[in-house]
Symmetry: C2
Subunit: 465 residues, 2 copies
């Protein structure tokens, strides 16, 4: 007999936690740390606060079993804007609940990363998560919570309110089964690379042996905060258009397009509607289904919409990229290419690439460092669009670069919607527009390297003479 | 101001349909076809019915726009067990609703594949899905449905019941934006390879030009149906153990272990509980949280549990694998290796590998064909564990195989839980146990090829003399 059932989102990711990146104790410890740190950095940047992020990983039972895998307490604290106690339980214990479902550049986007860290802790150690937070410095809220995984909702074991100390921020403490031996290098790399592309952040990390790592703020200049943006017409599909029409306040199609789309002015809207053979003065609610499909089809064919404006984005910029690469790799030669803004499926994005060559740090061969929305991506390199570009679309011979030259390529993609292929945010899909911009950027920095090498070569010939 | 919201599972996958494999019109057309065909094959096999699966892809408007991408009607019909009309709307229009959340080998496992095909059709063409089904041949139910994406529930536009024609089965018709030009080769490959590992199935496929492809049944012998199995102790985590203890009817810990775990008999349970220092006679409900964690920790350390028994699985077997490879590749030499059953994280699995060499069909170089639970995996080869094994863990020089020899490796993994890394079921995670078994299987067939080549070499030397 066939029996049907439904499972909640948390139950789905409990059973299929590989999909979210929590596949084994080493990877899970890494993922939990990164999900919480990314939440902290988002919470600071959203409010324009210079981030102070403190991370501590401690064995639960230091005198007990010392072989990995074993239980660790992971605690991440920030000085961000805090979280409203009305929303905290759901934000942390409910999958698909969050504040980042908007069209705005942020590290988070799925409404489940922090929840997964907490879920993994619970299913491996049974310990509740401890969360403290203050939005105003006056009241400090402390929660002890479990997740009701079958129902996708919080179980609040305790909620205390005490007087705050004047500071805002949040701390999250989870206890989880981890394999620090296997994960430690990646975790250290993660903090180091996070500090490099977020030099305005102070990050402290204390490892299980109590050894502290300090990543001091390199600058007091916060990047300009990203802006929420309206969708670009080329990103629309029939479902989104129907919703728009249903809830529209605007009385005419033309007004609706202008009010709801990115960079669509009256004249563009007029011109487009003539192209689509729809009356600009028509009531949006009067369109039938056929016409909605026709409207969306025409939108995708109309090529006179202004390209998305990437002023809503917050790229690294030359100064930060240069400083970070210099600090980390101390290369003999450094080239930077910041591409002009572009878009895929109506989502604006900007690509920034750096190339580092030579110097004492780099080893022989090509090394790739990938970043997206200021997050370092340390796994699944071979699946990433950047790897594909380097290995399949660049003709290295063209640039006369010696076979084993010590080279690092650093890529940063920022967008209102990073096209991750997995929930664990490990690598980017090979969207053609991204591929094209990455290729152009890499070619440009390789051209500069070629110039450097040829000048270097002729200078050495001059020396020898 | 920070505003929080929740999104439903269908809304999540609507916004992030890349995660489910529906990233562009070509890939979406492929995914929709495969999700529906996999549902049909599951529906037949579950009931021991020799499958008849008919697939038709027709342009929605044959006289209209003929350039891809454009709207296609995809219709898949089967003679399976049908679906109870009480459950049909939720099964097809609700994400995370289905009948395959059990521990039993099947193609489906996430409760959302068919729903995604329907969702993608709706958001690109606005057309409802048409479903007809009969579970007894007496009544035929017809539904016309949309998905309420924001609420993750069906919108039934119509439901008619007429007299059946005596046959059971289901047909699903979706209209979706597809790119047939780009997808056609992959779609044809998918049907061809599906037919090869499911030779008991009759498959018909009519493409948009009306050209029919027949994949006739090669055998009337159905594979032995897979069985539902209890979880193996090594697959348990603290959450699962707590649920078990909470709902347990058994009065003692020993009885609980025997009743709920795969291949745990009274003596093994006794021995284990002594190892874990817990009284076998204790009431399961009396354990506190610390003891539950201790119990699960001990389970993972105890190495005297019997290995999972893979009799619940339904592998291809030598006959089917041989016949399929012979038919498709007509090689000069064919080697087969069926590995003994193994397990990862308590989930039983079986690996079967074939190697084909030479003959008229194979081109120079190594080609990899991957299958899991009788599904061909045609994308993201470089991310798959099988690719990793072939390229990183096999020392090809060992087998004295010429550089450009025409070789194909065919791998099939069957399990109660295939470790896909993505919701789109594109490739398998590199679980160490899978990696080990694949490596051993590939080494064995390469050893046999080496023997063949050396015999062939010496025969040719004899000829020349
Ligand atoms: N340290 C923090 N300070 C303030 N708010 C936080 C913090 N951590 C999480 N939140 C809030 O909780 C919400 C849910 O976090 P969660 O990590 O589960 O999802 P997300 O960050 O929105 O998306 P993603 O799954 O991509 O990480 C966030 O959207 C944010 O509003
Ligand atoms: N052709 C069919 N005949 C009978 N039942 C079907 C058919 N197609 C779908 N179903 C039922 O609908 C349910 C939901 O299908 P859906 O494809 O959405 O999920 P699934 O097959 O369970 O898992 P997956 O997401 O991995 O495909 C199935 O579990 C099955 O019970
Ligand atoms: Mg997050
Ligand atoms: Mg399915």
């Amino acid at each position: 007999q066939v029996t049907f059932s439904e499972i909640s989102p948390s139950e789905f990711f409990y059973r299929n936690r590989d999909l979210a990146g929590f596949s084994n104790p080493a990877r899970a410890l890494y993922m939990a740390a990164r999900e919480l740190v990314e939440n902290s950095l988002d919470a600071c940047e959203t409010a324009g606060i210079l981030p102070e992020v403190h991370v501590r990983i401690t064995p639960l039972d230091p005198k007990g079993e010392s072989a990995d895998p074993r239980a660790y307490v992971l605690r991440v604290q920030d000085n961000g804007l805090g979280i409203d106690p009305k929303h905290a339980p759901n934000a942390f214990a409910r999958v698909f609940y969050g504040s980042k479902f908007k069209l705005r550049q942020a590290r988070g986007m799925f409404g489940m990363g922090g929840t997964m860290a907490i879920l993994y802790g619970q299913i491996t150690t049974n310990k509740p998560v401890k969360i403290t937070t203050s939005v105003d410095g006056k009241k400090l809220h402390s929660f002890s919570m479990l997740i009701d995984i079958q129902e996708n909702k919080p179980i609040i074991l305790s909620h205390e309110t005490v007087e705050g100390d004047g500071s805002t921020g949040t701390s999250v403490e989870v206890t989880l089964q981890g394999d620090f031996l296997r994960a430690s290098q990646k975790i250290a790399d993660y903090f180091r690379q996070t500090a490099l592309v977020n030099p305005f952040a102070n990050i402290t990390y204390i490892d299980p042996q109590g050894k502290p790592f300090f990543y001091f703020r390199g600058t007091e200049a916060m990047p300009s905060p990203p802006q929420e943006t309206k969708p670009h017409p080329h990103g629309i599909d029939v479902e989104a258009m129907r919703r728009l029409l249903r809830q529209a306040n605007e009385k005419t199609l033309q007004k609706l397009l202008v009010a709801n789309f990115h960079r669509v002015g009256e004249r563009t809207a007029q011109k487009f509607l003539e192209f689509a053979r729809l009356d600009p003065q028509r009531d949006p609610k009067s369109l039938d289904n056929e016409e909605v499909v026709k409207l969306v089809g025409a939108i995708h064919k109309f090529d006179e919409f202004l390209a998305p404006d990437a002023s809503c984005l917050s790229p690294l910029g030359e100064e930060i990229l240069k400083a970070g690469v210099q600090k980390e790799l101390q290369p003999e030669f450094l080239a930077i290419e910041l591409r002009p803004p572009s878009a895929y499926s109506g989502f604006p994005f900007v690509i920034e690439v750096a190339l580092a060559y030579g110097g004492k740090v780099l080893q022989e061969g090509k090394k790739l460092f990938r970043f997206a929305n200021r997050i370092p991506l340390l796994y699944d390199e071979a699946n990433d669009v950047a790897w594909k570009v380097l290995n399949e679309e660049i003709d290295w011979k063209n640039y006369k670069i010696p076979e084993h030259a010590p080279i690092a390529i650093i890529t940063h993609v920022c967008s209102t919607k990073v096209p991750y292929k997995t929930v664990g945010k490990e690598y980017l899909a090979d969207r053609p527009e991204l591929e094209r911009e990455l290729k152009n950027a890499v070619r440009e920095v390789l051209r500069q390297l070629k110039g450097h090498l040829s000048r270097k070569g002729s200078m050495e010939m001059v020396k020898r003479k």
